[in-house]
């Protein structure tokens, strides 16, 4: 499309000549005599350059030009003026003008002026485009920032040292605004990078890596998270940072814990189930062969058996469903000394077998406590077993001892302190030790023992304090109320578990 030029010149002859010249150069030229013509033209055309003689000393045209410049800032003004009026024109129009020409206008000067005007127009257009792009970019950035913040995951961006360079809102809410801190400090309260770090793996191979982790929030809460990493590349395609997205699946895991315990319970019932299924097989077999042989006696006997087995299986399923629901602890007043004696007997057997010295100091006249004795003994034995194991696994010293103190600290509570001088725990182990299926004993542990023990203590309204130091040992201080807590706390584990924990002496169950 040709550039449109508006020519304002009272000198008709001059205007005519210029018009011809410019039209020859492929410009669309419009000519205007009076200011009224000009405004009308502006409304209907897309004039980009105005070539005008201000016609001083009359200032009508100057006002008109100023008005145009105001309403169409993109329009470029070129002023042609007689030599003696040039200073005044410049004074009046100043920098609104891209070029001043002397009348009579020479073609070379005009060419240059028009060229310059067109350069300005092109630049203006670019600026307008950039402005729009910049605005779009800012909107997009805002959108992405918003998405980054609103995603219901913990998102962090990390450099090669695992330092946090950006975190989203959910991350800040649960782990604090910790830009510049190390990922392993913030997530795991560790002093050094974690083993099998998915971020490190992504830096290594540029691929996403999924893991599942247990992290500890700033308020000390533990979350199970499903973590996914993604590389962030620079314009050269090099991985400069890694984004880590962690979905909090704690509730899912809690549900899974529940299902797992149900599964374990079913496992313990499986022997019975298998017998029933075999008998059901037998019934079906006899029913089949009875029908095939037209043996009415066999058929009816078999039918009876199938019916009986179906009934038994039905009852067992109902029982499982009943167990699957939460069950209340069965509290009874228990003589503390007697309960402690039972716990000690169990623990002594384990300690003796492992050559660990067991020192018990039990206060006199401890009185009674309201607990579910099966569960409470199982829990206490489990703590003792863990103490023995911590000694057995510790190769840093020769002599090991487990101390068991029971005393009345007042306040209607009883304290059990289990202390060992075994291997101790680092902070990560300390934070994870009550988690289901967490074990520090490799294939020797199931990750069940302390999980259940912790739950039992809390269900009884008790508290557990843990102090531990690597190579030095661990001290568990359990404080239990003497009376059953007012709010009935529930357990969803069948007693069978408690018994098997007590029987399962040799193997550490954490």
């Amino acid at each position: 499309m040709a550039t449109e030029i508006l020519l304002i010149d009272k000198d008709k002859g001059h205007a005519e000549a210029l018009g011809v010249y410019l039209e020859r150069q492929q410009f669309e030229v419009y000519k205007a005599g009076s200011p009224d013509d000009v405004l009308m033209l502006f409304d209907n055309l897309s004039v980009e350059i105005v070539l005008a003689d201000p016609g001083l000393p009359d200032t009508d045209t100057v006002h008109l030009l100023k008005q145009i410049k105001k309403s169409h800032p993109g329009v470029q003004l070129i002023i042609m003026s007689a030599d003696e009026q040039l200073d005044q024109a410049m004074d009046l129009l100043k920098q609104d003008v891209v070029h001043y020409l002397l009348k009579p206008v020479k073609s070379a000067a005009l060419d240059l002026a028009v060229k310059q005007a067109r350069t300005w127009i092109a630049m203006n257009k670019k600026v307008v485009r950039y402005e729009k792009e910049f605005k779009d970019l800012r909107n997009a950035q805002n959108l992405y920032q918003q998405l980054f913040n609103e995603v219901p995951c913990y998102i962090s961006v990390q450099d090669r040292e695992f330092r946090l360079t950006a975190t989203n809102r959910m991350f800040k809410r649960d782990f604090g605004d910790e830009i510049g801190s190390y990922c392993y400090e913030v997530y795991k309260h560790r002093g050094s990078p974690c083993r099998n770090c998915p971020v490190a793996a992504t830096f290594e191979d540029g691929l996403p890596h999924p893991t599942e982790e247990i992290v500890t929030s700033k308020s000390g809460k533990q979350y199970n998270v499903l973590t996914w990493t993604a590389p962030i590349r620079n314009s050269l395609g090099q991985v400069t940072q890694v984004m880590e997205m962690s979905t909090n699946i704690t509730r899912l895991r809690q549900l899974q814990d529940h299902l797992t315990s149900l599964g374990l319970m079913i496992g313990s019932m499986s022997h019975g189930v298998k017998g029933m299924l075999t008998a059901l097989d037998g019934g079906v077999y006899q029913l089949e062969t009875g029908l095939a042989r037209n043996d009415e006696q066999r058929t009816s006997k078999a039918f009876g058996q199938v019916k009986q087995m179906t009934g038994r299986i039905r009852n067992m399923v109902l029982e499982i469903l009943y167990y699957a629901k939460s069950r209340e602890l069965s509290y009874e007043p228990v003589d503390i000394s007697k309960m402690v004696e039972k716990v000690l007997n169990n623990a002594k057997a384990i300690a003796d077998k492992n050559g660990i010295n067991l020192e018990a100091s039990i206060a006199n006249d401890l009185g009674a406590i309201e607990v579910d004795p099966n569960w409470m003994q199982a829990a206490l034995v489990n703590f003792m077993e863990n103490a023995v194991d911590a000694c057995t696994y510790d190769r840093s010293k020769e002599d090991h001892a487990v101390k068991f103190d029971v005393f009345d600290p007042g306040g209607d509570r009883i304290c059990f302190v289990i202390q060992d001088n075994g291997m101790g725990m680092d902070q990560e182990t300390r934070e994870k030790m009550f988690t289901l299926f967490f074990t520090s004993k490799g294939s020797q542990g199931t990750g069940l023992g302390l999980f259940i023990a912790n739950r039992v203590i809390h269900q009884h309204g008790g508290t557990i304090k843990v102090e531990s130091e690597l190579q030095k040992g661990t001290r568990f201080k359990i404080s239990l109320p003497r009376k059953k807590p007012e709010q009935p706390l529930r357990t969803d584990k069948p007693e069978k578990w408690a018994n098997s924990l007590l029987d399962d002496s040799g193997k550490g169950s954490t």
């Binding site: 499986s270 022997h271 019975g272 298998k274 017998g275 299924l277 075999t278 008998a279 059901l280 097989d281 037998g282 019934g283 077999y285 006899q286 062969t289 066999r298 058996q305 009986q308 087995m309």
Partner: protein
Amino acid sequence: MKKILIVDDDPNIVDYLVTLFEDNGYATCSAGDVQEGLAAAKKEQPDLITLDLEMPGEWGPRFYRKMSEDKGLKNIPVIVITGFSESEHAVGKAVASLTKPFDREELLSIVKESLA
């Protein structure tokens, strides 16, 4: 006719095995615990024994040990049929170990092979 002694405390399963074996041309006798089983083995001199592991009182492995100490019985092949999933080693010399619920055809083919 070859005779099979069934040692299992669950009468429904005994009944099942008796019917299954008799349908397939074997004679049977049965016992509900270890003592009964040993007495029946001595009296009936079976050609093969199926043995459950978990029974009230003494368990299957005890039966096997006592049976092995008896010259007249120690060469009778034993098939363990039990609810324990890892039972292969409970009775080391058993000709086979099947888990409940077992596969009928598998049992019959093992019996046939053992009695061949």
